[in-house]
């Protein structure tokens, strides 16, 4: 029996929004860029680094508490192992197409999700799920409405939501540089992003504050606030490494400070510039398992 999945598995690489890359040759120790320019660099570099990316990631979720002053998982964590292939497409490569396949746990193995994400605010993102027990592909309705009371869909039942994954749409926000200084030994700029009215109505967040490494243009931390300016969620980026000449965080942890649950996304393997054909990122990848396995085998080989 297939476990019903209602979540939008729009698994664009997390790096798109938060784990952003830059080449060290372009470093700015003391940036004089505006907040908007910094976020543009973050977005720009992220697109370079995530195009044609093949990733294996582990999503670990649990309820947490503090023990001896340290954050600890307070229950046996739920673990999902996922493979994801993604390309950038559309005008200026600002849209994305991706397919995510669950490898573990056994009860969800083989469930596939195809997602198309559009940079244009007027175009609704699209998601399809293959339900083997029903023998068909199902289009999933995703949140695009203006209902302020709704929240964006959770991904795989984790603390990550589709909104956390969104990239681009820079014109939908205003940016303010709050502070510059040292954070975890890095030069950072703290930038507050406030959604414009048309975006606010679609967002779960009233504003976000991002700690951006201004040498690497990678976000090290994000604090999310609700529409009453209460902190509700936080992202911590860790294990920052240079992979294929790209700086990135291999461990991203989302803390839901309301429900006291966290999700850690750890990149087990990632490869950029992999040859991913657009015809793989179609519904065929969901229904034709032979085609999918053959393609994934090839991607795994390229990734080695």
């Amino acid at each position: 029996m297939n476990k019903p999945i209602t979540n939008d598995l729009n698994l664009k690489l997390l790096l798109v929004t938060f784990c952003v890359a830059m080449f060290s040759l372009n470093a700015f120790a003391d940036t004089d860029l505006s907040a908007r320019e910094i976020m543009e660099r973050v977005d720009e570099e992220s697109r370079k680094s995530t195009d044609s990316a093949f990733t294996r990631m582990k999503l670990t979720t649990c309820k947490y508490g503090k023990k001896d002053g340290k954050i600890k998982c307070a229950e046996k964590p739920r673990i999902k192992l996922v493979e994801n292939a993604q390309i950038n497409t559309g005008i200026d490569d600002k849209d994305t197409k991706s397919v995510a396949i669950i490898l573990e746990p056994a009860s969800e193995r083989g469930i596939g999700m195809l997602s198309y994400s559009y940079d244009d605010s007027d175009r609704d993102n699209e998601t399809w799920l293959y339900l083997s027990a029903l023998g068909k592909v199902k289009r999933i309705s995703v949140r695009n409405s203006d209902d302020e009371e709704t929240e964006s869909a959770s991904i795989f039942g984790t603390e990550m939501t589709t909104e956390d994954q969104e990239s681009g749409k820079l014109d939908d926000y205003t940016y303010e540089l709050l502070e510059q200084g040292k954070f975890r030994g890095r030069e950072v700029a703290v930038i507050e992003s406030t959604p414009k009215p048309h975006r606010l109505s679609k967002s779960s967040y009233g504003k976000t504050q991002s700690w951006v490494d201004t040498e690497r243009f990678i976000t090290l931390k994000v604090q999310m606030f609700d529409k009453n300016s209460n902190p509700i969620k936080k992202l911590e980026v860790g294990k920052v490494e240079k992979i294929n000449d790209v700086w990135m965080g291999r461990s991203l942890t989302f803390f839901n400070t309301v429900s006291n649950r966290l999700t850690n996304m750890r990149l087990e393997a990632i490869n950029f510039g992999v040859d991913i054909q657009e015809d793989f990122l179609t519904q065929r990848a969901l229904t034709d398992q032979a085609f999918r396995e053959k393609y994934l085998k090839d991607l795994r080989k390229q990734a080695q």
């Binding site: 209602t6 947490y64 056994a106 409405s145």
Partner: protein, 423 residues
């Protein structure tokens, strides 16, 4: 004696696995862990922060290629002092993987043990069947698939076009896989698929004999996907999933009918609109003293609404007889003819959600079928205990009109409990 022993052995194994799991869990629930309000800063956060410890490691399976599932099911009838109506143990063994460079296969076997209090026990004490088994090969733009699996047609489950695979029955909507040979040709945003089935599965009462030989069934689907919408055209000759009793000779028949259909979905903001329509030719129909074939137009319209974890499904379904006479009859469950209505309408509404951020999920649904001849309400409570264990509790109640086709189901009550382990 043997059954009793077997039951004890299964319960011991089941209990042992459960015990192992509970013991394993104990180490993860630490009483010393304090659930502080954690809205403040986590300044201590660093790359060395070890939130999960060794718990974050995926358990290495002894037989990594083997998928094992054990399900224990109980059913009780509240209307009869909660007497047991269902008590069975299901064990599934399965595996999947690549076959050569361009192939993929899956196989799953299911063994069922019916215990003496199970209503099925009098006719069948145990059962072993191939639940699923298929090989799929992919070459260029073509894909072929042979074996036992499920083919889903149409947008709405149980709708006008969802006619290829039979379901488990009125109170069990799960689809039953069948043996098929199918092929699909993929284009850019379109696909054309065919299927052929030489031995269609037909649901019928075990007390009745199927009069006709089985017929082959085959069909074609042409699907088109575009931004914000998917659509498909259907054509086929199908055998009814449920055999129909001929009220004149008392035997049951399942003769093929022809279908032309169209299904489409369209996303609007939070909801998904689904529509199916099908013209069906040569549908079996009883009328006074005769067993005839008629034409029927079926359609359904549904809204699938997703709002955070809450999901609504609202649907309306119609079966309209294009040929009609006042002496048309519909057999009741007990085999008595009642008058047929030209347009049979059904309505369904369901909602499901999680309890906050917990591992508990609830669902409610109501089905009004055949112009209110039957009203089925159900409630479910699912507990996703961990990655291996799930438990489900459900209740069903049916209110049926007297002297109509479903009268025998009036005041039907069931409470079901299911515990599932997957490894």
């Amino acid at each position: 004696m043997f059954n009793s022993l077997l039951r004890q052995v299964i319960f011991v194994i089941f209990g042992f696995i459960f015990l192992l799991n509970v013991n394993a869990d104990d180490s993860f629930f630490d009483d010393d862990t304090v659930f502080d309000e954690s809205g403040g800063e986590f300044d201590e956060w660093s790359d060395d922060s070890d939130v999960f410890g060794e718990d974050a490691d995926i358990e290495k399976k002894t037989l990594s290629w083997l998928d094992l599932g054990v399900t224990q099911k109980w059913g009780f009838n509240p209307a009869s002092d909660y007497s047991t109506t269902e008590e069975r143990t299901e064990i599934t063994l399965g595996t999947s993987g690549s076959v050569s460079d361009s192939g993929y296969g899956e196989v799953e076997l299911k063994a069922t043990q019916y215990w003496p209090s199970d209503s099925n026990y009098s006719t069948e004490k145990n059962d072993l069947e191939v639940e699923k088994a298929f090989l799929q090969f992919s070459f260029d733009d073509w894909s072929t698939k042979i074996g036992k699996y499920t083919i889903g047609w149409g947008e709405l489950e149980g709708g006008a076009l969802d006619v290829v695979n039979p379901s488990g029955g009125l109170t069990d909507p799960s689809m039953l896989p069948q043996w098929f040979l199918s092929a699909t040709r993929y284009f850019d945003n379109r696909d054309l698929s065919f299927f052929y089935n030489t031995n269609p599965k037909i649901s019928k009462s075990k007390l009745l004999v199927l009069k006709n030989d089985t017929y082959d069934e085959f069909g074609m689907r042409y699907g088109i996907s575009s931004e914000g919408s998917d659509m498909a055209f259907y054509l086929g000759q199908l055998v009814p999933n449920d055999a129909l009793i001929n009220l004149t000779d008392g035997q049951v028949y399942a003769t093929p009918y022809q279908l032309i259909g169209f299904g489409v979905n369209k996303a609007f903001n939070d909801y998904l609109l689904k529509f199916d329509v099908a013209y069906k030719n040569n549908i079996q129909q009883n009328r006074t003293g005769q067993f005839i074939k008629v034409d029927r137009l079926d359609w359904d319209l549904a809204f699938d609404i997703q709002n955070d974890d809450r999901q609504w499904l609202i649907s309306i379904n119609s079966q309209y007889l294009l040929d009609f006479a006042d002496d048309y009859l519909t057999p009741s469950i007990l085999g008595v003819g009642v008058s047929t209505k030209r347009n049979s309408m059904s309505y369904m509404a369901s909602v499901s959600d999680k309890f906050g951020d917990s591992d508990w999920k609830w669902g409610l649904s109501n089905v009004i079928s055949s112009n209110n001849d039957l009203n089925l309400s159900s409630a479910t409570l699912d507990w996703d205990i961990n990655d291996q264990w799930q438990a489900s509790f459900s209740g069903t109640y049916i209110d049926a009109k007297d002297n109509r086709a479903f009268a025998a189901l009036d005041d039907y009550q069931r409470v079901n409990l299911e515990i599932k382990y997957q490894y």
